[in-house]
Symmetry: C2
Subunit: 218 residues, 2 copies
DNA sequence: AATAAAAATTAGCCTTACCTAATTTTTATT
DNA sequence: AATAAAAATTAGGTAAGGCTAATTTTTATT
């Protein structure tokens, strides 16, 4: 049996593994979970014994096939529950993450698949993140950000890279959600600020950090 | 903050309190949870400190107003999730209890109310148990069992007193569910066995224990 | 009332999953 | 290569929530 903490570590390692080419170190895991590196070392030992990860000082931490499978299922459940909370229970964008963080740990063999079916097999969660399929396959993930768009270019908001409440609430205030059309009017070379037009409305200026947090489709 | 274990103890005490007139002893709680009495004594101390219960050797364990409120909310969530699992995700009667046992601990202030609304404010869960209302009120609970019916009498299955898989699966095999009409043909005085007719079908014999586990409406 | 049985409690131990502080190893910088 | 800094690891500790075994208290039975 895999414990709640173990699941959280697997999910964390999975997430860190998305930034390809990056070595996953104990410190990186500790920072990501807000835990002490010493605790991480303990857990690395435990997950290694359970054959869910392989730890090599040169290569860092890597998920085994089983670890990958387990982590993918947790992410799948998390994202499906997010869809449920938003679409069925009427929660807002910025409220669902923490609840899904608890729901993702509910254990039942057929739960994810039943929920998936009930929700109509959604491909992306409310933040635009791809929902792993029952077979482990993953819909395309977006990688271009608003900050990559050329001045004058149009794009469509596809996902958010940052899912903190502060960012999501800011998006709401700006009237931006998944699918919103944005035109990049100008890039301020001084600090990377972006002048944009949201759904054809009047120009607004946002920071470079903001632009890098919004994934888009061209 | 109230922990998962504390919630389980509160729920257990709440459940034991339903059998009115019964003193709730540490041993009763231990038996009910499958824990050691020593562990129960520890938890009684903890819950007393948190002012969720009052323990008096004469009167046994009782919930305080706050304990009652917390326990009721857990039961409410449990039963609402059971409705969700059965009606929305298509689980069977005997599969939902254990999953709801996990779901009931998901913490969010508005979750129960949103779920309640989404499900159309159901009054009873799939086992026929009343779902506490948002204000703490509780729909009428059935107390007459099939074993109380007079020979020749008709009744309608309103709820189950026993929610073990073995009982629920047996019910399924007998084609009995909430709402099924049953006629009590005869009571065998030797061992209390009951000869019944389910939905007007041919006679079948069930045990006294069975009859006492089925709550009915006359 | 004496005694046996049952229940409650205490004492001490275990595991999980964290922690801090100290130490060792690795990586970077001069 | 020497050294400083950063990262990893070890050692030992804590709180929660279980456990067993031993003891005390309560309840029942003779």
């Amino acid at each position: 049996m895999i414990t709640l903490s173990e699941e959280n570590y697997l999910k964390c390692i999975y997430r860190l593994g998305q930034d390809k080419g990056q070595k996953i170190t104990p410190t990186a895991i500790a920072d990501s979970l807000g835990n002490n590196p010493a605790s991480v070392v303990d857990m690395i030992r435990k997950l290694t014994e359970k054959q869910l990860i392989i730890y090599d000082k040169k290569k860092g931490v890597e998920l085994t096939a089983q670890g990958q499978k387990d982590a993918t299922l947790i992410v799948r459940k998390h994202r499906l529950w997010e869809v449920f909370l938003l679409e069925k229970l009427g929660y807002h964008w910025d409220e669902i993450h923490d609840i899904a963080e608890e729901l993702e740990h509910i254990k039942d063999d057929s739960l994810a698949d039943r929920l998936d079916k009930f929700l109509g097999f959604p491909e992306y969660d409310p933040h635009g993140d791809p929902i792993p399929k029952a077979n482990g396959k993953m819909p395309k993930r977006y990688s271009t950000t608003l900050a990559d768009v050329k001045a004058g270019g149009f794009c469509r908001v596809a996902a958010v890279k940052d899912t903190t409440s502060s960012f999501l609430q800011y998006l709401q205030k700006l009237d931006i959600s998944i699918g919103t059309k944005i035109q990049l009017i100008e890039k301020i070379s001084f600090d990377g600020s972006l002048v944009i037009s949201i759904n054809g409305a009047e120009h607004k200026t946002v920071s470079q950090k903001f632009g890098e947090s919004l994934l888009i489709d061209i």
